[in-house]
């Protein structure tokens, strides 16, 4: 049960990052690549310095730097966001495989440790699910709440959402579209890097090529599932996390469903949710940021 929360929150970190970028109108399909780079960076630096916190910070920087590439190409230069994002995934996976060559199947030394919550973690059911988590899990929850607060309750969030809904409107109101978008994309990369760190240090407990195994894509799907809201995305993260954690264990429970089918479920659910949205969108504005995927050039019509 511990693992459901662990996988869920790892997905949540990456999804939250993607949510921030998409709220600003930038689709970043490079999550998988940013997670991989974050993962290898955390593994390397965590082992090197024997400190998971340093690992986390380096992973965040690595993810952020990779995202900056997307920011420059897709936002500043206005290239196609889908193409640039896919390129980022390929680049990130390649880079992480190259950089991680020497670390393959070394055991991870440091992990994000549990908070000393004393007897709480011995509670039945809630104990392992809620209270026997590492401090990074609490950071993830805190980041979710602060993301919600910043988006909904601050000037920065208002401007960011405006840029994602209509860049021309935000521009006319004096909000810098390029600065906002690049900042959002980089923040998204930092969080994807955190997700990668969580993955290699606490979940996989080691580095192998392809350790991300499509979890970055699930994070992208999660944002849709969560209707671009931090709270709903958290629910989706735990649900998808449950599915992923369960997948390798079903057989041991004697359930006769192919694990391949289970691993498809997040995407099937996402397609279902998308369909529901588009039906809803006939009567009201869609939940998706209206300007997503579209570059903005002021003098162009």
């Amino acid at each position: 049960m511990n693992e459901v929360t662990l996988v869920g929150l790892m997905l949540y970190l990456a999804a939250l990052g993607e949510l921030i970028a998409e709220k600003a109108g930038v689709l970043n399909l490079g999550v998988e690549g940013m997670m991989a780079v974050g993962g290898v960076a955390a593994f390397w630096s965590g082992t090197e310095f024997g400190n998971p916190l340093i690992g986390l910070l380096i992973a965040g920087i690595a993810g952020g730097l990779l995202a900056l590439v997307h920011g420059l190409v897709a936002v500043v230069m206005g290239a196609d966001q889908v193409v640039s994002g896919l390129a980022l995934t390929i680049l990130g996976l390649g880079m992480s495989a190259f950089l991680g060559q020497d670390y393959v199947s070394l055991p991870a030394v440091p992990q994000f440790g549990a908070l000393p919550l004393g007897p709480l973690k011995d509670l039945r059911i809630v104990g392992p699910i809620v209270f026997n988590q590492s401090w990074l899990a609490w950071v993830a929850v805190g980041l979710g709440i602060s993301t919600w607060f910043v988006l909904e309750r601050t000037r920065v969030g208002l401007g960011l959402r405006a840029v994602g809904e209509s860049a021309a409107t935000a521009d006319a109101a004096g909000q810098s579209v390029v600065v906002t978008r690049v900042a959002a994309v980089v923040a998204g990369g930092v969080l994807a890097g955190f997700g990668g760190a969580y993955l290699t240090l606490n979940l996989a407990k080691g580095w192998t090529e392809g350790v991300t195994a499509g979890r970055g894509w699930i994070a992208v799907a999660l944002v849709i599932f969560g209707a671009w809201r931090p709270g709903r995305t958290a629910v989706g993260a735990l649900l998808f996390g449950g599915l992923l954690a369960l997948e390798p264990r079903l057989q041991t429970f004697g359930v006769e469903i192919s694990p391949i089918l289970i691993s498809m479920l997040p995407y099937v659910i996402t397609i279902g949710v998308l369909t529901a949205f588009s039906i809803q969108a006939r009567h009201r504005p869609s939940a998706a940021p209206a300007a997503i995927g579209r570059a903005y050039r002021r003098e162009e019509r």
């Binding site: 000037r155 208002l158 405006a162 809904e165 006319a172 109101a173 004096g174 504005p285 003098e299």
Partner: protein
């Protein structure tokens, strides 16, 4: 000399790829007045205002506010200098509340919704603007959205407010209300620039008027009392570049044999405004029916609806008596209806495709067998077109983007006529062409009419309409407001009907 003008734009030039939107435009607005900027669609009004509002950087020219020169790098700079613009396409975020839209860009670091909503409500009350700050904008009518836009400007305490065709989306009652608000703001010491091409609004709401044509100022700061419909039409539309002789045709039109008939057609735009309002017309075999009107009075949606590119809310189109109903463009082409759209590139032709590919667009389905296209066939077809219509190209496989306007139009018109249609809708077929180009297209149209083609000719060039048409219908605000026999009609008569006042339909 009294105080300097609130706004002084001098010699503004702005070029876009292929168009000169502003060619030395000038504008001078006195403080505390409402200043009309007039001109037909494409005259460069919006571009000039975007320059003033910091959205576009001019290629040349200076912007002075209260006598001080400003160089705006972004809309934020212009806002800081007190210039706010209400764009024709509103700049509002539908999923934000009214208060959020108003506060956007100048909100406190942490939003206290209640507080902002109260402040917005207070401001609205002060200027008599009815609105609910808590409602999300997508619920609101166009009139309410416009009030939100004006609130945005007041929130920033703009001293210069630009309204780009503000009444285009309003009901007459809402337009009157806007007039009252504008007057209140001017009385408050602000300067308002009011873009319109409706004479009655200009005379009621504004103090002075500047007229733009072809990107340049043709009349500056006229007192509105000196304006009347014919003068205004003359100023806005101008003299035709080509003095056309009335072209005499050999076989006279036969209005008793209608090839194309439109009955009670109404078209609504996405905002629910009726852009075409109960239009009926008939075109006989060999007849050219001209549609005159200031651009933006429903000509384009009418043409699109007849050609099957827009869905009318009401009405029917018949070709030789056969109802076309909801048939798509290709069914219409096959039935014998062709269309030369106003946007040559984009709607008419695909700029990156080759000459051959563009030439075959209407007929490729019958070239070759099954799913395969016979490109040999297509080339022969293209060569024939080029030959017949005298198109000069840089090679059949080159993208058409390199062709001149005149050659593009010859290719387009040729392609549309190659299917031997019974009726043709031609929208602005000679706009922007050089003298030979204009003459060539006009000759083709006349020759086709002589051969029995019924033509609906939509044009902003009055000389052209008078020279080519049998009858001229005048469109204003989506309706046909007058009809003239082109042989006896004069520029003045048609011009007056275009600008307003004459609203009865004369018998032809």
């Amino acid at each position: 000399m009294s105080s300097p003008p609130a706004v002084e734009l001098t010699n503004i030039w702005k070029r876009f790829p292929g168009v000169i939107a502003n060619a030395g435009a000038e504008l001078r607005v006195q403080p505390g007045t409402v200043h009309a900027v007039l001109g037909e669609n494409g005259a460069g009004k919006t571009t000039l205002m975007n320059v003033l509002a910091g959205v576009y950087r001019p290629d040349e020219g200076t912007v002075l506010l209260d006598g001080v020169e400003h160089v705006f790098g972004s809309p934020a700079d212009a806002l800081d200098a007190g210039v706010a613009m209400v764009h024709q396409e509103f700049r509002l975020i539908p999923t934000f509340t009214v208060a959020e839209n108003v506060a956007l860009g100048s909100a406190p670091p942490v939003l206290r919704r209640r507080e902002i909503e109260e402040q917005v409500a207070d401001l609205a009350k002060r200027f008599g603007l009815q609105t609910d700050p808590r409602r999300e904008v997508w619920h609101l009518s166009m009139g309410e959205r416009q009030r939100v836009e004006i609130l945005k400007a007041l929130w920033r305490d703009a001293t210069i407010l630009i309204l780009d065709e503000p009444t285009a989306v309003l009901t007459p009652a809402e337009a009157n209300e806007l007039g009252r608000i504008v007057a209140a703001m001017a009385a408050d010491g602000r300067s308002i620039i009011f873009i319109s091409h409706k004479l009655d609004e200009v005379t009621r709401f504004c103090d002075e008027a500047t007229v733009l044509r072809g990107g340049a100022t043709v009349a500056a700061s006229l007192p509105v009392s000196s304006l009347d419909a014919p003068t205004l039409a003359e100023l806005m539309v101008g003299e035709s570049t080509l003095v056309s002789q009335r072209r005499v045709r050999n076989n006279p039109a036969d209005p008793d044999q209608p090839v194309l008939s439109v009955r009670h057609m109404t078209v609504h735009d996405i905002h629910g405004i009726a852009t075409v309002d109960d239009v009926s017309l008939e075109i006989g075999s060999g007849e050219i029916v001209g549609i005159a009107g200031v651009a933006g009075n429903g000509q384009r949606p009418l043409a699109d609806a007849i050609a099957g590119l827009a869905t009318p809310t009401q009405g029917s189109v018949r070709l030789e008596g056969d109802e076309l109903g909801g048939a798509g463009p290709n069914v219409r082409t096959d039935a014998g209806l062709s269309y030369v759209p106003e946007d040559r590139i984009g709607v008419g032709l695909a700029p990156r495709l080759s000459v051959t590919e563009n030439a075959m667009m209407r007929t490729y389905r019958t070239m070759g067998a099954g799913p395969m296209v016979d490109f040999g066939d297509a080339r022969r077809h293209c060569e024939q077109l080029i030959d017949e219509f005298n198109v000069k190209t840089g090679g059949l496989d080159a993208p058409i983007a390199g062709l001149s306007g005149g050659n593009l139009q010859r290719l387009l018109v040729g392609r549309e006529l190659a299917t031997s249609p019974k009726a043709l809708v031609a929208a602005q077929p000679t706009r922007g062409l050089d003298v030979q180009g204009v003459a060539a297209i006009q000759e083709v149209l006349v020759a086709q009419a002589e051969a029995g083609l019924g033509i609906l000719l939509i044009s902003e060039d009055l000389e052209e309409l008078l020279a080519l048409s049998d009858r001229i219908l005048v469109m204003r605000e989506g309706r046909i407001v007058a009809e003239f026999d082109a042989e006896t009609a004069t520029r003045a008569m048609v011009g007056e009907a275009m600008a307003g006042s004459a609203s009865k339909r004369e018998p032809a």
